[in-house]
Amino acid sequence: MLKKLEVEALRGATKKFVLPFEHGKRITIVYGENGAGKSTICDAIEFVCQGTISSLDDRGLGRTEGYWPSTGKTQNDIVVAIEASNGTWVGKFVGAKPKSSPSTGLPFVQVLRRGKVLNFIASQPKNRYDAISPFIDISQIELSEASLRRLLETEQRNRETAITRVTENLAAVENFWKQAGSPGDDGLSWAQIELTKDVAAIKADVAKMEDLVRVMENLARAKGNVDTAAAQVSTAQQTYDAAHNKAETARLSSPEQIAEIVPILEAAQAYFHSHSNPTECPLCTSKEFAPGLTDKVTQQLSSVRIFREAVEQERTSIQSLIFAKQSAESQKAALLTAAKDTAERLQETMPSDITVPPALLESAQAFAATSSLEFAERLKNLSDTFGTSLKTNLDKRKESIGFLDTLKRAVAMHDENLTVATDLAKLIPRISTTLDEVEIVRRGFVDTILGKISTRVGTLYETIHPGEGLNKISLLLDPAKRASLDVRSSFPGTTGAPPPAYFSDSHLDTLGLCIWLALAEMRDPGNTILVLDDIVTSADEPHVERIIELLYEISESFKHCVFTTHYQAWRAKYRWGWIKNGECHFVELLKWEHATGLQLVGSLPPIEELRDLLGKNPPSPQQVCASAGVTLEAILDFITLLYECSVPRRKSNPTLGDLLPSIKAKLRVALKVDRQNIAADGTTTTVTIPLGPLLDELERIAQARNVFGCHFNQIAQHLPETDAIQFATVTLELADNLIDPQVGWPRSDKSGNDWANAKKTRILHPLKQPS
């Protein structure tokens, strides 16, 4: 339970405001006229416990934090402290955000303000869902459920695909089967037999045949190279012969010592290059042959050059001839090697369907024996034809291998897809069943919770509107919409109708209240402060007493309840003890002013006020009579209504003079109260007190009320003041016997025998007026 609330600089709390909660009282009722600051108290509790203030929401203010401080104060001035039985928490602004310290263990707060009550019913289904989502929000589960649903769809598609592929694969195999002439019973059986063929052996044959083809091709190439080399030797020989003849001719026409004079001529040419037109021979100094000497040297050098070129051509041509002959020998050796390879392969074991022509085989054997060029060439010539047929056979074998590979793949795909289809045929029903079960559990879960809430709403609603048959409330999720909650109710002549279509505003109000209370009850009520800000108004008059009783009843679940009201009838019912006051702490707020902020005012119930007046020394006859008169009228009004006594009520409220005589002698004799007294040690005793003598005594001195309590009257001077005190004392005694200030008046006839208050601490007899 709460112990104390301190509020500073928040909303209406312009001055520090302290609200001490009465020890042992779970309900606190804050009464005040409009504008007294009731909502500030609710705001303060919400601020410290949740860091929010919802009273300013939906007023078109946008962010409201700027309006939280009292006028003239800042956010940093706000301090709200709440003390409860299990700790104290202080709420302040830290930076731009409200923080409470300590941050753990804070009570949870549910605040319902008047505007929200009707809104719950009238608002959009989405908003209603938001309110109820803490209890049924299973969106995470729905994500996992959606995965399961997708898996079902995916695997169904996969199975269809696998079945289609199986058909396609089968068609491909059967196509091969038909190409093979449709041997056996069916394509698949045939394919299975085909796949038993030794592909490795075929591949080994292919390798052997490819090797033979390769060496035979080498042989053909080598023979071609030998022929080419022979032709090159012939050409080189002819070139050399021509060059040799030319060189021999040049030698004959040149002086023998030509080789020795060439350096002299070249030196002379170099000399004449820098000494043109010499006048004498530079060697013999003869002037006789000097003219034309330079030209003569040049001419002689030209003759020498022709000679030298012929010799050079002869030299290079013989080198070419030598090289050609060497090359020809090399090619012959290569031919012999190729022939040797071919001969060896031909003599090896061939695949069974390959027959080497006998002449070729003989040639191979002959070469092997002789290694002669002649047999090599013969071997080549004979292998040409065989090579062609061998290649054709080789191609067929390769084709066969390719076919078997293709067939193998087709059968493997068929088998694989068949396995997938078979596995899925087993898995899909399991997925489907699982999905069905998940959906069943999920729907059941939501339906159960909604059912619990609906039932509780109906129970609460029936408490307020008993016997009206409007308690069949259904909360429904719209399956076609995400996060959408519908409220439906039965109404005479129709079922499943939206309440706003048939219910009065008053009924809608109480329905909204009941739904909200039912939800609040479901959310950790033992740690929840329930705050109802002015939700009961005069508009609820026909049912107000039941609403208040209902609030008192449900308050037992909560950590603490704070109800604010400006409804005077509630105040009156509290003051007169017409409701269970035992668990209730009642405080009143004075009219709010900026200079003073929120202010509490003392408020004594009338009976306690009478006791207080009588306790004064000396008591004032006028004051005690006035107070006792009002109290006695309230008691007599209660009794005469309870027993349906004949009282003139048409013109105005009945007075003491109307009420007292209407309780006739028989009833007075019968009126008794079983009064339970609780001793200090907690033991209880019950005494039966007849009310008749008290009523008789009050009737005897009833005039004291008017004489002392109501009017200036000279008679008062002649009446003893003891009558006034006696009138008040007996009235108080009557009140104490009839009314338990903690539990209230004996107004329930549920027992069928008497009238009792809630805890049966006062039981009034008889049940009916004696006839």
Binding site: I141, S147, K426, V438, R442
Partner: protein, 69 residues
């Protein structure tokens, strides 16, 4: 009605109910309960996870895609 139903979140409450229900129905291997529940509750149970646990419950060899469970 004095006690709260929110000791657990609705998803956690429902997730645990679903898992125990599926085990009871023989649709889920009880050995997978602890692994699957957090993912079911957290909304992270993917198609591959469901497939794996359902194949296991059928005695089929689960494989293929990587899963959470």
């Amino acid at each position: 009605m004095t006690s709260s139903i929110l000791d657990k979140t609705p998803s956690k409450l429902l997730g645990e109910t679903i898992v125990s229900h599926l085990i009871k129905k023989g649709l889920l291997d009880s050995a997978d309960a602890q692994k699957i529940t957090p993912h079911l509750v957290g909304g992270t149970l993917k198609e591959a996870d469901w497939k794996l646990v359902l194949e296991k419950s059928l005695g089929m060899t689960g494989g293929g895609e990587k899963s959470n469970a």
